[in-house]
């Protein structure tokens, strides 16, 4: 009971700080602009215009990625691949429940979060699978989304070693998450 309350308080403190950051940033930056005699409204609206241009540049790539990833999920491809991978992953000490999360995490942020919730619901957040899933979700990003949007912004077609480096990162993430949970929790 006491432990539970402490945990809640810890969590509340973390959330409060992150709630404070954004409003404080907006107020602070605008105030700093006024003090340095910047036309903050004109600059802000000019920035919005540039932002719209960015969206215009990256939308086609984003669109293609979102649609094809959704199609891939609907085809049952992720489940089938997970089933194929499970024995291999299990032998390496990786919780088989997290296989689908591992596959989907690089492609879809919302899809990964949905699967993560399933893992927490079915196994409990403090189970081995729940902990490994939490660490994976907390220490990785939506790799393919980032790659497609960032390179679309500069219209780069030849991405050279970017994919290899990013995927190596994802692999290391899966391995170190498993090892860290086993060693520390």
């Amino acid at each position: 009971m006491l432990r539970d309350m402490q945990a809640r308080r810890k969590k509340a403190a973390a959330v409060n700080i992150s709630d404070l950051i954004i409003p404080a940033m907006f107020a602070g930056v605008l105030l700093y602009g006024i003090f340095t005699k910047t036309d903050v409204f004109a600059e802000f609206t000019e920035g919005v215009k540039e932002g719209l241009h960015t969206v215009y540049e990256v939308f086609p790539s984003l669109f293609c990625l979102v649609v094809t990833v959704a199609a891939f999920r609907a085809s049952g491809g992720t489940q089938l691949l997970t089933e194929l991978l499970t024995p291999v992953l299990g032998a390496a000490g990786f919780p088989p429940e997290c296989g689908e999360l591992l596959l989907l995490r690089p492609f879809s942020g919302s899809g990964a979060t949905a699967i993560y919730e399933q893992i927490l619901k079915n196994n409990g957040p403090d189970s081995y699978a729940g902990r490994v899933a939490s660490v994976i979700l907390g220490s990785s990003e939506t790799t393919f989304y980032t790659l497609s949007v960032y390179f679309a912004a500069v219209k780069a077609k030849k991405t050279r070693y970017a994919l290899a480096a990013a995927l190596l990162g994802d692999l290391v993430c899966a391995v170190t998450s498993t090892i860290a949970v086993r060693a520390l929790l």
Binding site: A71, K155, A166, L168
Partner: protein, 198 residues
């Protein structure tokens, strides 16, 4: 790269659907998700407009320059050849700061602005090829720099975890290893590419 990802995903989706008899679901997914993609883009437009506006104010008032001066000793080692205190370095600083603070929404507009400034500063001989600095920045953004994993912690709390934050040390270890592996890989490829050109 994207052409292989797109074709690969679509063809495997077709084969899986044929094998598992889910062709109807696949067909529906194509037609429904094109609308979903537009909805995502509309949300993203709002977020990008918001942060791009604020970023522009911070930039023209000289605030980002000050911030960039603080991070320059570390970041100039990662991003060789970019002007110290230049616009590209300023946006890279904003992008990385936003990532560390967990402002995932803000980090994308900052990162995209940084990409364009790198392009403007470098004058690459091959505009279709991503430069080393562009790749380093992008790869850093495919790894997680976030100090406090708020999404995971909030969901752990929701599903009744006794210690939602107990994952913190593990997340830090895993994040640092992931980032280090990706950056070392970038460094090796960068050096190998330079040797080939000489």
């Amino acid at each position: 790269m994207m052409k292989y990802i797109m074709t690969g995903l679509t063809v495997t989706a077709f084969l899986f659907a044929a094998l598992t008899g889910r062709m109807d679901a696949l067909s529906t997914a194509f037609l429904e998700e094109c609308g979903g993609a537009v909805q995502l883009a509309i949300t993203l437009t709002g977020i990008i407009a918001l942060w791009s506006g604020l970023m522009r104010v911070a930039q023209s008032s000289g605030l980002t320059e000050k911030l960039a001066a603080l991070t320059a000793p570390v970041l100039s080692k990662l991003f060789g050849g970019l002007k110290r205190g230049g616009k590209a370095m300023q946006y890279i600083t904003l992008n990385i700061t936003a990532n560390i603070l967990g402002l995932g929404n803000a980090s994308t507009p900052f990162g995209l602005a940084a990409m364009r400034e790198i392009e403007a500063e470098e004058h690459s001989p091959d505009p279709l090829a991503a430069s080393d600095n562009m790749i380093t920045l992008t790869v850093m953004n495919t790894a997680s720099l976030q100090l406090i994993p708020t999404t995971a912690a909030a969901l752990r709390l929701k599903y009744g975890s006794a210690e939602p934050m107990e994952i913190l040390p593990c997340v830090w270890i895993s994040s640092v290893c992931t980032l280090a592996a990706a950056l070392i890989c970038c460094g090796i490829c960068r050096r190998a590419g330079r040797r080939r050109r000489l």
